[in-house]
């Protein structure tokens, strides 16, 4: 499944790059992220508790930052699994300056499987988009502080 979108931040590109590279910010912004530990530089173990309404699940996973080209782009690899199913994905995150704003755009591929896919295929794209939206909103909040 293809996922893509973009978000606008009122800040310089370098500032946004640093924001996204800071583990503390990611930990606060990733929806449901309870724990994020760096195993090796650029490789993180994560614990997520996410859900919609009655569908709650705990997922353990790995996130990896690859091919960083500061301050323009990097690739993100992720995978997680929990009792309701598994998620695997990769995305290219790109930063570009537009006047006073930095546009962060992402484009990637996501696979969702397991029981959650059996029950909710129709909603996964929308929910993924919602969570991406939540993530960017939280990142923007951290920009202000």
């Amino acid at each position: 499944m293809k996922i893509e979108g973009k978000y606008k931040f009122l800040a310089s590109q370098e500032h946004i790059w640093d924001l996204f590279m800071d583990q503390k910010n990611l930990e606060k912004a990733i929806p449901g992220c309870e724990k994020m530990e760096e195993r090796e530089p650029g490789k993180y173990d994560v614990l997520l508790k996410i859900g919609i309404a009655a569908i709650k699940g705990t997922y353990t996973g790995k996130v990896e930052v690859v091919d960083p080209e500061p301050p323009n782009r990097y690739r993100l690899l992720g995978e997680g699994s929990g009792s309701p199913g598994f998620v695997k994905g990769e995305a290219t995150i790109e930063f570009s300056q537009e006047g006073q704003h930095t546009i962060v755009s992402y484009q990637g591929d996501m696979q969702v499987g397991g029981l959650i896919a059996g029950i909710g295929q129709r909603m996964i794209g929308g929910i993924a988009k919602m969570m991406a939206g939540q993530f960017f909103k939280k990142m923007a909040k951290q920009l202000k502080s």
Partner: protein, 290 residues
Amino acid sequence: MKPSAFEYYTASTVAEAIDLLERYEDEAKIIAGGQSLVPMMNFRVAQPEVLIDINGIKELDYIRQEDDEIVIGALTRETDLELSPLVQERCPILLKAVSLIGHASIRNRGTIGGSLVHADPAAEIPVAIYGLDAKMRVVGPSGERTLEPEEFFLSYLTTSLEPSEILVEVRIPVLPQKTGWSFVELTRRRGDFYIVAVASILFMEKGGVCKEARISVGGVGPTPIRAEEAEELLAGQVITDELIKKAGQKAAEAADPESDYHASAEYRRDMTRVFVQRGLTEARNTAKGG
């Protein structure tokens, strides 16, 4: 798989249910028909610690007319909606929508309240509710409130119900005689979750002029949408084939669907156009037929 363990309570009044919800809050889930909840529990995608069974709240099982509204208790089974002469005569669009839900065995247990609170983006009843501008009456520890569809439905599987609130009633305005209506949906097989569903209502005045149109579309967003620009196109006009064609196109522009395993966004958007057109054509015919 089998569900995880839970504590089980039954409530025989609304007050009891609210009491239990207040006590257990986030840990508790209400079970009515269970046709959406139990599959999730069997897969352990939902694991409520407490289940509050409200099937015994007989006071919530009714269909009656109060002035110009059909008033339906939240616990009314979908099959009973189909069998009700009141619904058949005064609210045929709801009847049609309900008849397309799954299969008879599911409708025998499923309730109108459960369908609304579960807020599945591919459920039929919410689409009809948006088209009818029906109101949802909700009761909680601090009293009751009445919500419009846009206030009630927030997103995928999410309503604005507070943790201790329970939906008790749906109030549906009786449509005037000679109102055109239709409910159409696209599914691969009868009973599947639909790709798109469209509820159309045409309030008519003399001379075949449409006073007001309502077009509600499901399957193209986290909640049903009203295609307002398409509706405005029809208001005050005689409904011609050309106008129906344009309304379909406008409705497709209003849709913002996701791609998924079942259908791409482009397909859903195009099917919005097709099914709005089909729905409006059918509604125009029922208006003529009186």
